[in-house]
């Protein structure tokens, strides 16, 4: 059994799942950047004390699940979302959805995801894919970060849907409930909502660990890593930062390029010149994130490693923080005409 479905590769899994699921209900003009922007996907947080894989906990985008939720809400699309305590129930519900013709988004862990390269399989439980059919014991899977569709056996799918640990998916499935027609006017409004919410998240979030302030905070921390952690561990921490920033699924530059693309596409709906200029500022931020990654690589490869090199690294982040602050402040002063 196979539901009519079109696989389109994306940079980021949740963007891709959202875009591809929206296509299944007839909404064909939502691109990955649009979904990312309307879902206010851009973020930064460095959670002190918490360790992930023995390194710092850093994220460049918003909390998993929110991009799909916010995008559907902004566009007025009802959503079905369900978690399960029983594996049998979870599979039964999935089969019912497929029988009714709904491809289904699933939250999964990547540790047991058999079609991923071993090097990428950590205990990360907030990956997303779409199941669009079943043939015998094999489920047909569209993983948006893969070029082509793939498959998982029933056992493999169950194992990744019931991965354990932080953010355990508990068999979570979700899909848009019914076909909707959305108007350009709805999209215009959704863009404004998405931008304003992202301005709030990046500029006005309380505390110093998140948003643009969090980036500068991380920069200041990095300057102390060499003395505090020793060169070996400091190198590992920097490698973890780069992995979070540039790993598969970010579109490069810690999602900053995707956001730049979003502002360009938003311009087609809101012909305001400032959007194009601010898009360039995000390109600049993404470029500087990558420059910082090259500096970090110099350190974790052992090519450089003096305190001066750590200071340069930290200063890059402080500079990025300032660029992104200006970009979001510019976004917050836009006069939307609608």
């Amino acid at each position: 059994m196979k539901v009519n479905f079109e696989h389109l590769q994306a940079a980021h899994c949740e963007n891709g799942v959202t875009t591809n699921l929206l296509k299944t209900i007839g909404i064909r003009n939502m691109t990955e950047p649009m979904v990312f922007g309307i879902g206010s996907g851009l973020f930064f947080i460095y959670i002190p004390l918490l360790k992930i894989n023995n390194g710092p906990a850093i994220a460049f985008r918003t909390q998993p699940g929110l991009i799909f939720k916010r995008t559907c809400k902004s566009l007025g699309i009802p959503v079905v979302r369900k978690k399960f305590s029983s594996k049998q129930e979870a599979e039964k519900f999935l089969m019912e959805c497929l029988e009714q013709g709904h491809p289904v988004g699933c939250q999964v862990g990547v540790y047991y995801l058999s079609y991923f390269p071993k090097e990428y399989r950590f205990h990360f439980n907030a990956h997303n894919l779409i199941v669009y059919g079943r043939e015998g014991d094999t489920f047909l899977v569209s993983d948006p970060v893969m070029e082509n569709v793939t498959t998982l056996s029933a056992y493999e799918l169950e194992r990744v849907r019931f991965a354990k640990g932080a953010l355990a998916p508990r068999g979570q499935v979700y899909y848009p409930k019914e076909r909707r027609v959305i108007t350009d006017d709805q999209i215009r409004k959704a863009i404004v909502t998405g931008v304003k919410r992202n301005v709030r998240d990046m500029l006005r979030i309380p505390g110093g660990f998140a948003g643009v302030k969090g980036i500068a905070y991380t920069g200041r921390k990095i300057k102390k890593w060499r003395d505090k952690l020793g060169p070996h561990k400091a190198g590992l921490y920097l490698a973890q930062l780069v992995r979070m920033q540039e790993e598969i699924g970010t579109g490069g530059g810690g999602f900053r390029y995707i956001y730049g693309a979003f502002l360009q596409q938003a311009h087609a709906f809101h012909p305001i010149d400032a959007l194009m200029n601010i898009s360039q500022t995000f390109t600049q931020a993404g470029d500087l994130w990558r420059t910082a990654a090259v500096q970090a690589a110099g350190i974790y490869k052992g090519r450089i490693g003096s305190q001066e090199d750590y200071n340069t690294m930290g200063d890059y982040l402080i500079e990025i923080s300032e660029i992104e602050r200006k970009a979001f402040e510019a976004l917050s002063t836009i006069k939307w005409r609608s």
Partner: protein, 135 residues
């Protein structure tokens, strides 16, 4: 980033897929392009795995020295912390930590050992000897 600057370096993804990158074309418009990988992040991943291998080797040595139970070795091998082991086995985190002591581990019942063996995807014999046969 300019489209022509998207890196095309060898990476762990090579046999599996290429990844989508966003970049600007010559007229400043955002486009997508597939990338093989970027040496900077391939190295970041290498650094992470080298550290994991060192941790596994250090854990093995600790077990051989009777400073820790084989649990430690398998936790490093499977990249699991006590929280993840607890979630997969159903033991409390404090129990997992206690079972890291060789003397306590040696007295565990077959049933409890089986819970660990299942979580690590090995047999009880492999669990006790740290000799894992994987393809």
């Amino acid at each position: 980033m300019k489209k022509e600057n998207i890196p095309q370096d060898p990476s762990a993804l090579d046999k599996f897929t290429k990844e989508v990158c966003y970049a600007v074309d010559s007229s400043g418009n955002y486009v997508t392009e597939l990338s093989r990988g970027w040496e900077v992040k391939a190295t970041a991943l290498d650094v992470a795995w080298k550290d994991i291998e060192q941790r596994i080797a250090a854990a093995r040595q600790k077990v051989l020295n009777k400073e820790a139970s084989p649990l430690l070795f398998f936790m490093e091998l499977r990249l699991m912390d006590a929280g993840i082991v607890s979630a997969y086995t159903g033991f409390w985190k404090w129990q997992v930590k206690r079972h890291l002591q060789p003397a306590v581990f040696e007295k565990l019942s077959e049933k409890k050992l089986q819970q660990y063996a299942a979580a690590f995807n090995v047999s009880i014999t492999e669990l006790k000897t740290m000799e894992v046969h994987e393809g």
